[in-house]
């Protein structure tokens, strides 16, 4: 198996292969001695050389977070042979989405469709656990679309509005 793994802005090529029930591992072509045991689902006990690590995996939405001890890494894993996990194209121009920062309820919509908006201005208010969170415009522009109504329940990452 070969993966391309992007962490902290750098992409690594990882080869994992099996021979006689033994697995070997190469990072960017360099052989690495590794010994791993799946302690529980999403928890690996990993030895690299003789250093020991408890590694946890968190899948939230489409994101994979790898925790090495208490250190978190956002990882993007691509399987070069499949199209499944290709990076979404990053588009810095054109319309921008406003997404819900947390699961909650839309309690107020501050601007209506078609309104002009400054970068950083509040567009909607989402409430969860007695806390209100203003969702702000990521750039100056026009509110192209409001996708939710007041009172709607939303999940983290849901698109609430589009500014262009």
């Amino acid at each position: 198996m070969t993966y391309e793994i992007a962490i902290d802005g750098k992409t690594y090529r990882l080869d994992l292969s099996q021979a006689n029930d033994c697995w070997s591992c190469r990072v960017d072509g360099r052989e690495v001695e590794v010994d791993a045991v799946l302690a529980r689902p999403n928890v690996l006990s990993l030895r690299l050389g003789n250093k020991a690590y408890e590694v946890k995996c968190e899948r939230v939405g489409g994101d994979v977070h790898i925790w090495v001890g208490s250190q978190r890494f956002a990882a993007e894993v691509r399987d070069p042979r499949s199209f499944r996990s290709r990076t979404r194209a990053v588009d810095d121009h054109g319309p921008k989405k406003l997404t819900a920062p947390m699961p909650g309820k839309v309690v107020r919509i501050l601007l209506s469709q078609g309104a002009e908006v400054e970068a950083g201005a509040g567009v909607l208010v989402v409430e969860a656990m007695k806390m209100q969170n203003e969702v702000k415009a990521p750039k100056k522009g026009t509110i192209q679309k409001i996708l939710v109504s007041e009172g709607a329940a939303v999940n983290a990452g849901d698109v609430l509005a589009i500014v262009e």
């Binding site: 993966y3 962490i7 902290d8 990882l14 697995w23 999403n42 909650g104 309820k105 969170n133």
Partner: protein
């Protein structure tokens, strides 16, 4: 002794009280709203009654529904926990009328302490030290101006019915007074339905230190030592410890004596807490009395060796305090971290959701009071407190060491928590030197998180890379456990390999 106690609360405190009941051989009745059916307190109770929809006004704050359950279940007492109805005198009265014992002070004592201005007036009479200011609501702007001029700026405007920082305004100079007063009044009206606002001298960089009280129904009142609660964010406590690093035995005795006077002046019974502001010269001023069990009561339990909930129940049962003031002995040091479902990368906003993985700390000196479990979905409807992690040590350094170790063991996957914040606090040199005040945390959070700048070392990153690949190969349903998944070239062959499954899936592509 009571046969059955209804717990009018949810989350970790409901579990805490259920445990106390079971330890004392008392049956525990839980109530729950629609979104709390799967909550831990329902699992752990002996009986559980649905009380309506998520909205607190229709469930946990609904006095009639709670009393209905008390009647249906035959509970002979109600423990209100903290928050919700715990400081509601009307509820305490309704319990009395319904013939069910409210585990807490009398309604009269709550009334005496419920209004901050009325509490100030009665404390003034009892000779309790108060922050200079008015003990009555401000009548006019002119009055406010005069009082502020007399006590000197900066001053603090406070809602008489307030709490949690609502209706509070810090005023640095006379020019800002008018607008601040208007804003405080309208916020007080909105938040508490009462626009009464009073004025106090603002103490610069104070510490928030509180004294735990117990009073039985036979006139015996004791104090159990103080808690240092200066670490606050948005006026909410985040880290608490006992004892306070700045309180010596003499100061403790003085604060304790004042706290006993406060409690006695209010005819107080059961557990309560007297809050003080302490200035940089260690002068302390009465702030308010909380007429309930505090969130942070475990640190007092650890340094005194007592169980406050057991004692609350015994006091409500009419028993005498089983010890005198002289028999209360403090030993060691305890620190509590409030674990919240909050996103440290998004200004600590709430982060409800499903807990997909939960690794729990334990071992020496570690107490964990929790309302969560793996697989549970944290509802978005309530306070985001998930659990409390409390570290005890022979001294403050050891408590910090144990707590840091336990925080590193604690892992809550699937939702965001503020665990990383505690690592940051506990490793901060000023915190370690106990140089803290109520502004500490805001200052810390304004600083850049140093730990984020540290580039992960090459090997740790390499571990993350390899693990990311392994988890991807194992797939999200990797259910096997304790089996070797991969072996380097040096070791012997592994007997079983989960990688086989992965390889088979691979071959199928």
């Amino acid at each position: 002794m009571f046969k059955k106690i209804l717990i009018a609360n949810r989350g970790e405190i409901a579990v805490r009280v259920i445990r106390a009941c079971h330890e004392m051989g008392i049956a525990a009745v839980a109530v729950y709203s629609d979104v709390d059916r799967a909550s831990l307190h329902v699992r752990k109770a002996d009986e559980a009654y649905p009380i309506g929809p998520a909205a607190t006004s229709e469930s946990y704050l609904n006095i009639q529904k709670i009393l209905d359950v008390a009647e249906r279940s035959g509970a002979d007492a109600i423990h209100p926990g903290y928050g919700f109805l715990s400081e509601n005198a009307k509820f305490a009265r309704a319990c009395a009328d319904a013939g069910v014992k409210f585990i807490g002070p009398t309604a009269a004592a709550m009334d005496a302490m419920g209004s901050k201005t009325r509490a100030r007036q009665s404390m003034e009479r009892a000779g309790v030290p108060l922050v200079p200011g008015t003990s009555r609501g401000l009548g006019s702007f002119e009055q406010a101006e005069q009082v502020a001029a007399r006590i000197g700026y900066p001053v603090m405007l406070k809602a008489a019915a307030g709490g949690g920082g609502k209706g509070m305004r810090l005023v640095q100079a006379v020019a800002d007074l008018k607008s601040a007063l208007d804003a405080a009044r309208s916020e007080a009206e909105r938040s508490f339905g009462d626009s009464e606002v009073y004025i106090e001298k603002a103490i610069v960089n104070p510490r928030h230190i509180e004294m735990q009280m117990l009073a039985d129904e036979h006139g015996n009142t004791v104090y159990l030592g103080e808690r240092e609660c200066s670490l606050q964010r948005r006026h909410q406590k985040v880290v608490e410890e006992a004892p306070s690093p700045i309180v010596d035995p003499e100061m403790r005795r003085q604060m304790g004596d004042v706290a006993v006077r406060v409690a006695q002046a209010a005819g107080y019974t059961n557990a309560g807490t007297v809050e003080f502001l302490v200035d940089q010269q260690k002068n302390f001023y009465f702030l308010e009395m909380n007429t309930r069990l505090q969130v942070e009561h475990p640190v007092t339990e650890l340094v005194t060796g007592l169980d406050l909930v057991h004692l609350q129940i015994r006091i409500a049962n009419g028993e005498r305090l089983p010890f005198s003031q002289e028999e209360v002995k403090l030993r060691g040091h305890a620190i509590e971290c409030r674990i919240y479902a909050e996103d440290p990368d998004n200004n600590y906003f709430p982060s409800p959701g499903k807990i997909t993985l939960l690794l729990l700390p334990s071992g020496p000196g570690i107490r964990r009071d929790s309302g969560m479990y793996e697989g549970w979905t944290v509802p978005m409807d309530y306070d985001p407190l998930l659990a409390k992690l409390i570290g005890y040590g022979t001294d403050r350094d050891q408590a910090i060491g144990r707590l840091t170790r336990a925080l590193n063991e604690y892992f809550v996957g699937g939702i965001k928590t503020n665990i990383s914040l505690f690592r940051r606090i506990l490793s901060n040199p000023d915190f370690r030197a106990a140089k803290i005040d109520t502004g500490f945390l805001d200052r810390l959070l304004k600083e850049k998180d140093q730990s984020k700048d540290v580039q992960a070392d090459t090997q740790t990153t390499e571990v993350a890379v390899i693990a990311a690949g392994m988890f991807a190969a194992l797939g999200p349903s990797a259910a096997g456990a304790g089996e070797r998944v991969s072996i380097g070239s040096a070791d012997k062959p592994a007997p079983v390999s989960n990688w086989k499954t992965a390889a088979q899936r691979e071959a199928l592509r």
